[in-house]
């Protein structure tokens, strides 16, 4: 990895990378043997919803990890890597009651910060970014990469989080439970789509409609939807000449004004999305800007329904052409 890229990494990620190199660890290594070399490991059925407890016993220099014995093999592996994060990260102190689930970090800032750092350490230790980037360069689909990584014994969630941190711009994942409720989600940097929030029931069809590629990965306990954005749009003849975007959107808003499901300030909200993206997005062509708008509208819970109307697609295309004409 180039020095400049390495400098940009968080310290705990660099530490994990240092540990991998120093101890010659490769993906899929025997983590329990590694842990036992440095730490006293005990397994107990902890009668609370915690994954592990990390602490130093008085009169001993070696720390102790009490691991909850009811963890799945994948969660157990990640938890052990997380606990080794507390051991190797030089500023982690005291007794730490751990939850490796990224959504459960409540409480005080210092606790939250230590748990997040230990998770980042664990992710790098189990799924080194250099190795993952090499896999990304050699495989065509997210499914292929995901399968190779999961074969090293990590959970689908850990794979998804590592992938979203390493794939290039334009990717989004949504992991749902067996009831279709969002558990985890995220998008790669500089992606216009916004991942749905946890706890809602996810409908993939809206994003599927505006993505260039869609993959569904199912495991025993969850389903992951992966979207790759960046469609190559072609503008139709009518976008180049005639039709005014304002007239198109006014007609849509008029048609929907009695629809109970639509927000009252619909026109204002639509214009806000267009204006916001126009200020922030760095698009080279009307096609690229239209694609960015499609991604963003698909991400807004009370506006995504507009994408089921062909005339709204026409509005987006026409608006994009007008905005670029103004620039020229």
């Amino acid at each position: 990895m180039a020095q400049r890229q390495r400098d940009a990494l968080e310290s705990e990620v660099k530490l994990a990378s240092l540990v991998l190199g120093r101890f010659g660890l490769v993906p899929g290594f025997e983590i329990e043997d590694f842990v036992r070399e440095y730490v006293e490991l005990r397994e107990e059925l902890i009668p609370f919803s915690v994954d592990a407890v990390f602490f130093y016993r008085a009169s001993r220099n070696t720390p102790t990890i009490i691991l909850n014995s009811n963890l799945s093999p994948q969660r157990r592996r990640f938890t052990l890597a997380h606990e080794m994060g507390h051991f190797f990260i030089p500023w982690h102190v005291g007794t730490i009651i751990c939850h490796t689930d990224p959504g459960s970090h409540m409480g005080r800032y210092l606790y939250k910060s230590m748990e997040t750092e230990a998770n980042r350490f664990a992710s790098e230790l189990l799924i080194p970014s250099e190795w993952l980037l090499d896999l990304i360069s050699k495989h065509q689909t997210v499914r292929q990469i995901s399968e190779v990584v999961r074969d090293t014994g990590v959970s689908g969630t850990a794979v998804n989080i590592a992938l979203v941190n390493n794939l290039p711009a334009g990717y989004m994942f949504v992991q749902t439970n067996r009831w279709g409720v969002v558990q985890y989600s995220g998008e790669t940097g500089s992606t216009y789509a916004r991942a749905p929030r946890n706890g809602i029931i996810f409908d993939a069809t809206v994003f599927e409609r505006v993505s260039a590629n869609y993959e569904l990965i199912q495991t025993e306990s969850s389903t992951t939807h992966w979207f790759k954005f960046g469609r190559e749009l072609r503008m139709h003849h009518e976008e180049e000449q005639g039709y005014d975007s304002k007239a198109i959107i006014r007609k849509i808003v008029d048609d929907l004004k009695d629809n109970a499901g639509m927000p009252k300030n619909l026109l204002c909200k639509i214009n806000g999305v267009v204006g916001g993206l126009n200020s922030a997005a760095d698009c080279a062509s009307p096609e690229e800007f239209a694609d960015a708008l499609f991604q963003r509208f698909a991400s807004i819970e009370d506006l995504c329904v507009l994408l089921s109307r062909p005339e709204f697609h026409q509005f987006i295309r026409r608006k994009s052409v007008e905005l670029f004409r103004e620039i020229i």
Binding site: L9, K14, E44, I46, Y56, N61, W91, G94, T95, R108
Partner: protein
Amino acid sequence: MSSKKEKAFVDLCLEGEALLTDIDRYVESWHNSKTKTSLHDYLGLKLDEYALWVEKPQALRYIISSRKNDVPFAKAISQMEQQGIAARAADHDELTEVVKWLKGKGML
């Protein structure tokens, strides 16, 4: 001497470029060098921090934690002295229950 070596050990730890156990190598490297820098400066420790580390090696983690979190040294050290009790959890109730459970098991 490489630019990495020019940085003090504590700074390298904070940047993720050194492990705590590397301190021994840094002390050795100081002994082998012709530097006029004192050992505590070479390691990036203040004199009182250095004195404590010599007495109690486990203090190093607390010294680095005090730097990282901008906590006064004395406060960090008082945490070290109540090691088992200075626990962190998602919330106060969880903390109380887990610490009670650990004590019941004779582990704290």
